[in-house]
Symmetry: C2
């Protein structure tokens, strides 16, 4: 009796502690949902007020039509003209057919490289002139410059030939930008199925002119669909196969395994400092470095999926990187790595909560280190932009001072998934290892200050979507909540606190219902504008005298940069001048 009494007391108090955890989960979920709702509403209102206060923009009056049926007797341009003249006689303004400019683009790259070579040689000559050895190499370099100059002017002629109307007529892609008189007319055109055949005349809202991704205009319905499928398969394979380095990293965190693999290291591994570095810092550093390559790869893969704008590509790549991170960083670490064990977890859905409950708390210390190594370092290196800094230091000697400096833009699919993943860590470890929270708080404060500074002083936006990326953030937070509920469910089941475990079941259902409500209440605002807002905005413009000028600009707003006239030869002529004088 004397022995059991403290045990039961201890068990009772432990049970009570578990109930505290239970209520913490409920309260946290409610609080986060409240914040999410508030934020969704706030950003939706911001998006609307941004639209109301914006000047007329070309992309609001434009749609992109793809899969235009080709016929032998008419050109694409003619069939676009006749189709929209027939069905939108009062609102159709004009159109621009998109051309295949791959050839011109490769010629332009060649020309740019030649131009760079010529400027470098020229600089070299000048330096030599200063050093006084006029005659030894002058002739050689001069000959080279002449040769390159000839090549350049040849390429330039070639480009002009390709840019001429006659040859462009044969390079019509089956896609066109179509311009309308009003925002409402453009919106009705892309909301409705145009043709009897739903795979032809597919219309979508046009992106901003500067946002258009010109290089990859996949045209036909089938080709786009197939390329999309191929890219999705490739992305999935990449996400799954990436686990191999993660496994190696996981091996490094286990000292004993390391000693077995490399017996000669035993003497070094007994030094406390070394073991601390290896177990604490090195694994996440390696992981982090290999993860650096992921966003560009995902961006590259997504760009082949047939999207027409940079914003769509980055938004889709952002989603891919989030899933990649959840799978390869969170789940792979939690279930310590092997692909087979991960798959077996996924294929046995009944036991996922219990397995998570066993595995997730065990990795708390790893993720605390991860927040410090990956989070803190990434955000501070963001302040100094170390990689671009090093890059510019290395390339500066080889670049000419006339090179234009491009203001960089923030790659969404690199930074947003990282911040969201730390949110996921915070939510899932909130009631398992609250020690992670101060580290995360420090990260988030740092990130807030630093990104605020970067947005104001460093980056310039490449395009403006009006908050279209917010639903991604919302969805990721909802996923984090559901993951947290599954872990809680598993833990209460493991600790044999079955009432808590069964009272945990309504929570994911309620969260999903909340998400469904938000999807219905807010998501449509992020997809398209309503009749009400469009017509109000159109009426405001009706009496604006500047609209006539706007329509003139509208028609020439969408121009493939490969079709713009280019200036290298005149520049090189300038470069020749001092040589001849």
């Amino acid at each position: 009796m004397l022995l059991t009494s403290p045990t039961t007391h201890w068990m009772c108090s432990q049970y009570q502690m578990l109930w505290v955890h239970f209520f913490a989960v409920y309260i946290l979920t409610g609080f986060i949902c409240l914040l999410l709702h508030h934020e969704y509403k706030y950003i939706a209102l911001k998006r609307l007020s941004y639209f109301y206060s914006s000047d007329p923009r070309p992309h609001q009056f434009t749609i992109l039509v793809r899969s235009i049926p080709s016929s032998s007797s008419y050109s694409i341009s003619d069939s676009v003209e006749s189709f929209f003249r027939e069905f939108y006689p009062s609102t159709y303004v004009s159109h621009v057919v998109i051309r295949r400019t791959n050839k011109i683009r490769s010629l332009l790259i060649k020309a740019k490289n030649l131009y760079k070579k010529i400027t470098q040689l020229r600089k070299h000559n000048r330096q030599k002139n200063k050093q006084g050895d006029y005659f030894r190499l002058f002739g050689q370099d001069d000959g080279l410059i002449d040769q390159y100059g000839k090549k350049l002017s040849e390429i330039e002629q070639n480009v002009r030939l390709h840019q001429s109307e006659n040859s462009l007529a044969t390079e019509e892609a089956r896609a066109a930008f179509v311009f309308f008189k009003s925002r409402y007319a453009a919106a009705t055109a892309f909301h409705m199925q145009q043709s009897v055949n739903p795979t032809q005349w597919i219309a979508e809202p046009a992106p901003e002119p500067r946002d258009v991704y010109w290089p990859f205009f996949s045209e036909s319905f089938m080709r786009r669909w197939i390329s999309k499928l191929v890219v999705l398969v490739a992305t999935t394979l990449f996400t799954l196969l990436f686990l191999i380095p993660v496994v190696i990293v996981q091996g490094l965190t286990n000292l004993k395994q390391l000693e077995v693999l490399f017996p000669f290291l035993t003497s070094i591994l007994t030094i406390k400092f070394v073991t601390q570095i290896i177990t604490g810092y090195l694994p996440s550093l390696i992981l982090q470095l290999s993860l650096k390559a992921v966003p560009p790869i995902m961006g590259f893969l997504t760009s082949m999926q047939g999207y027409i704008s940079h914003s769509d590509i980055e938004s889709s790549a952002c989603n891919k990187v989030i899933w990649f991170t959840v799978w390869n960083v969170f789940l792979a670490t939690v279930f310590s790595g092997s692909f087979i064990s991960l798959l077996s977890v996924i294929l046995d859905p009944k036991h996922i909560p219990e397995r998570l409950a066993v595995a997730v708390p065990a990795q708390a210390s790893f993720f605390i280190t991860y927040v410090v190594t990956s989070g803190w370092t990434s955000v501070t290196s963001e302040l100094f932009r170390i990689i671009p800094l090093l890059g510019s230091l290395i390339t500066r000697p080889f670049s000419s001072p006339d090179d234009e400096f491009e203001v960089p833009s923030l790659p969404f699919h690199r930074d947003v998934p990282r911040v969201l993943f730390f949110g996921l860590l915070g939510i899932t470890y909130f009631f398992l290892a609250p020690l992670i929270l101060p580290f995360l708080l420090a990260y988030l404060c740092l990130a807030y200050i630093i990104y605020r500074n970067q947005f104001i002083n460093v980056y310039a936006p490449k395009y403006e979507t009006g908050g279209k990326l917010w639903p991604t953030v919302h969805n990721t937070m909802i996923f984090s909540l559901i993951l947290m509920h599954m872990i809680a469910l598993g833990i209460f089941a493991l600790k044999k606190l079955s009432p808590a475990s069964s009272w945990m079941l309504p929570l994911p259902v309620l969260t999903l219902l909340f998400n469904e409500y938000c999807r219905k209440r807010f998501l449509p605002i992020f997809i398209a504008y309503s009749t009400e807002s469009l017509i109000k905005k159109d009426r405001e413009d009706q009496n604006d005298p500047r609209m006539a000028e706007f329509y003139k600009k509208l028609v020439i707003a969408y121009k493939d940069p490969a079709l713009l006239p280019f200036q290298y030869t005149s520049n090189t002529d300038d470069l020749f001048d001092p040589l001849l004088s």
Copy 2:
């Protein structure tokens, strides 16, 4: 050596037989997909040509707007008028606000019952008059008729009071039918989000006037959403709990279990004829009788989900009945019944193919009997319409000869799921027990002849959807194919024919890709008409002199039957006449 050689030879030949099965699965899938594609295309073209050849119909020019925001200063009618006058000034014609008519409807039912009673009493009296006992009961019945007549006229006054404009003004529902000048204008209105708040002014295409389901006009966004969720939960629970009678049926098929439960039956159960009936016929008969109740129950549940048309209700109920049948007839029979064992199968997705491969072939004889008992009998009873025949035989003595005879319409959600389920049986058992095929063929031939006859001579369509139900058929066939692939996968894995098993994996993927292609190519045609067709059709009408008259009719096309004037008292007055003469 002599012993092993025939064994290996036998094994080889068995392996070859399995490969025959393998190729049969591939060929059948390809053939069915080809047929499905052909049929989808054919029906899409039929739908389009039906649209092109149709006269102007009110529902083509009308949208239904729900969740109209209510304000204290304006009536719903005023706000609809001002909203559409503002945003669709050139195409808006008029609108009809929907009224809450529950009270009137219940009064009308009372009036109808009273009217029936009066006519019956009247008939009774006449018969008595003929029999000569004029004076014994005359006064009593006459008093009753008088009493009922007074009540009826009271109710009638009450109904007229409720039907008057003044009292209807307070009963405005937050929904309205809005009429437009052209089909295209109506289509743009329901394709686009109307209001800044996506949960207000929700527009959808209007159903045909005769197709409108007036009783249940759930109004607000939240109420409809909640009722939808509740109905979905109720349907799921109903589908799951229905298994109890199925378990009993399964118990009956097992003679030994029956003898243990009812020892006194042992003597009867030894008679061969009785055992044959019990094992072969009785189980599926009981199952079939209890299944008869399912379509009406599903129809009733679906009607509370907030649909506005009979066609939507029947189409949604049809889907529910299909899932119900697959779960409760196919899966429950295959995994012999218990709810827990079924759930354990679903929650262990890795082993579903193997479990199916073990269980499905074992039930082949049950399903052959099922085709005969359920299929053949249902289709032949359809010819005689036995239940309505019995019903009319029983009720005839109590009904008056003046009762209007309503031409029946085919309840889609009763008959379509049954035919589709036999399709599923045919596809899944095609390579397991081809013996089922002649029985199915007989069923399908019978069904073709009988339903053709019924459509031409018996049923009258209650509404016309233009083939909108076809995607349901297509999806069910695709599901059947995937189920068949899973069974084949399991069987080849069980028989240790691993190359066949792994070469089976691409087939479901290809089938799903085919389905995805069909969704993109054909499904949009079944959801809405394209700009091209709408505008062409509108232009045809522009010069039609009958259009002025059509617009007049359009405005009064949507009228709640509860608000129509009604005629009972004059009829009863007629009934009184001969009594007074």
